[in-house]
Amino acid sequence: MAADRTHVQPPAGSAPPVLGPGQAVLSGEVTIIVALAGQPNVGKSTVFNLLTGLGQHVGNWPGKTVEQKTGVYRYNGTTIHLVDLPGTYSLTANSPEEVIARDYVIQAQPDVVVAIVNAASLERNLYLVAELLPLSRRLVVGLNMVDVAAAEGVSVEPQVLEAALGVPVVPMSARRNEGVRELIETVDRVARGEIACRPNLPEIRADHRQVLDEIHALVAGCVPAPYPADWIALKLLEGDVEVTAMMRDRCLPPERWEKVHTILMAHEDAILSVASGRYEWVGRMIRAAVIHPRAGQITLTERLDRWTTHPVWGLLLLTGALGLVFWLTFAIGTPLQELLDTVLLGSLSSFLTTALSGAPAWLSGLVVDGILGGAGTVVTFLPILILFFAILALMEDVGYMARAAFVMDRFMHLMGLHGKSFMPLFLGFGCNVPAVVGTRIIDSPKARLLTMLLAPLVPCAARLAVIVFLAPIFFAGAAPLVALGLIAFNLFVLGVVGALINKWVLRGERAAFIMELPLYHRPSLRTIGIQVWQNSSEFLRKAGSLILVMSVVVWALASLPNGDIQTSYLASAGRALEPVGALMGLDWRMLVALLSSFVAKENAIATLGILFGTGEAGVGLGSALQSALTPAAALAFLVVEMLFIPCAATVAVIKQESKSWIWTLMSVGMLLGLSLAAGILVYQIVRGW
């Protein structure tokens, strides 16, 4: 991955020059690779963002749906390539993130590993350091959030900790931009060999010493190149899935594996002992370094948690927070979206129509109706999304999101899911695309697939926009009630479908709900800003690629073969579906409107405008629709629109994230059947009234 990098060697024979902080260094340009490791909730991304700003590269780890962030920082003639490892509690193969983090440290052998730890929960944080030290001895500990720790009544003495660990410890508060420069300076000096690391390595507990030696002897000589043999022996004893499979299938001769296997079977719960050993080591490290000057005080986190995690107050608080999000979305986001739609898209499309007047009709149709009407319209939802992303990032950054997940856990259990699935589903109210991507935070693959399948049932802003436009036409004063009822109905369907799929399709063991509740702290605007920027640009990239392609395909279906939607393939499909439509009181035009909502949900309105010959959703559409539809049929239409197949962009990301066409098609098929069944049911019931 980095063939051209220069390894920095300590200057042989001569003593390293003694440098004061900020002083220039004599040697020339060097490039080093620094991996940033840390547990979740330690402010690691704040550190990374501070150093790399907007100049970071965001992608995926090769072959994984785990985000990879890299960036470059220049300091004192050193070019530092920063690699942000996934946040993990340990380096055992409990999750893809943990495998990625340790494989990177072992295989890429970064020049320095920085372990960011949270001073307020140092004991648990040093567990990861205990796992990192045997893999990389050039380690620098960034003792972050010293301010948060102080507020919680914890104080840590960095020098004492440094002496105990045998590696540099730099106190810092990334949130306040304090200590980050010192951290980089220390990293640079460690890379140059000016600071020697003599780590105090954790050892296994005495009761497993002998068995570890036995395994070590058996695997000796069979461990592939970059892996340390003692580390492999320890991971085998821990029962690490990946290492066990690797040694069994590829490295050990069968008779040796049999012997190892027999030993392992006799020590199945050795992980508890190994972990205890590490925690004993951690205990020795911190005994002298951590002081509780205000032990016994009731901390901010304790006080807030009494409310936020309470089954009643917590739920009310969450409802209030969600209400506020919706209010903000509709008070600020929706007008902005409409403004973009009419002003930006409107002028752009009239400009392009004029510019392309000389070109063939299909070209102007493709550009104006296909690209602008599809992908362009999706882009106008960016203001709503930015608002959503910002509020979510804020809730996450202050530590509230984990509490929301905790409160929702009881309800998610009805669907065989747990609290963590709530977060991506909530994001779905803004747009289903980030909701599907957001399922990455769920630990269990099964729960993740189920959440992905349910995400399109959360009514997104585009569907809400359709409801807000159409409901008043048919239901006048009762429109707000109808809109709320439709949202509630979607969530009800989501619950029922989730419970059924969990019961019949995804049977089997349920993922464990284990989630850290981080300490509350003041948000960092920079972290939130960068997160919003990244999510938004990711969304725009998708709009420019996947969504663009799908828009063109659907536009082609709506205009081929004659360039007229009335005789297009899409219209033929609508007419073919008329028998189904009749059951809902809908004629072919309404069906085509539904089909066109596949490009983007709000297309339904534009299509109706074209089909009812009133032009772009003009004033005439309301009365035309009123005369074409009975209230029962109108309600059925709205129900179907709310539950209908996800938009093209969502389908594309479901495929991308699930890596399965079967699952994607199942999602589309399920929603198609579900929406039509619900539409028919609603029409038949309401009509009989």
Partner: protein, 89 residues
């Protein structure tokens, strides 16, 4: 002896809010053990129950951090009342 049977049966799920206990063992598959162990749920660890209501998830504090656990996970963690009376941190 009746008392010791009761003692042996105590799981984290049955510990009231505000009580302090010591972890004895974890009954579960390797994955559960491994995930819990890395968060500090090891034999002998001191836990204090912060929130435990009805059939919902519970919150415990251990090693200076708060961790939410599903009810099912809590029933798999065997504990004993902490006689030491020392601060679990």
């Amino acid at each position: 002896m009746k008392l010791s049977t009761m003692h042996d049966d105590l799981t984290l799920s049955g510990v009231a809010r505000g009580e302090r206990v010591r972890l004895r063992s974890i009954a579960g598959g390797h994955e559960l053990l491994s995930r819990l162990a890395s968060l500090g749920f090891t034999p002998g660890a001191r836990l204090s129950v912060v929130q435990n209501r009805g059939r919902g998830p519970i919150i415990v504090e251990l090693r200076g951090t708060r961790v939410a656990l599903g009810r099912r996970e809590a029933t798999r963690i065997m504990v004993e009342r902490d006689g030491g009376g020392q601060d679990g941190r």
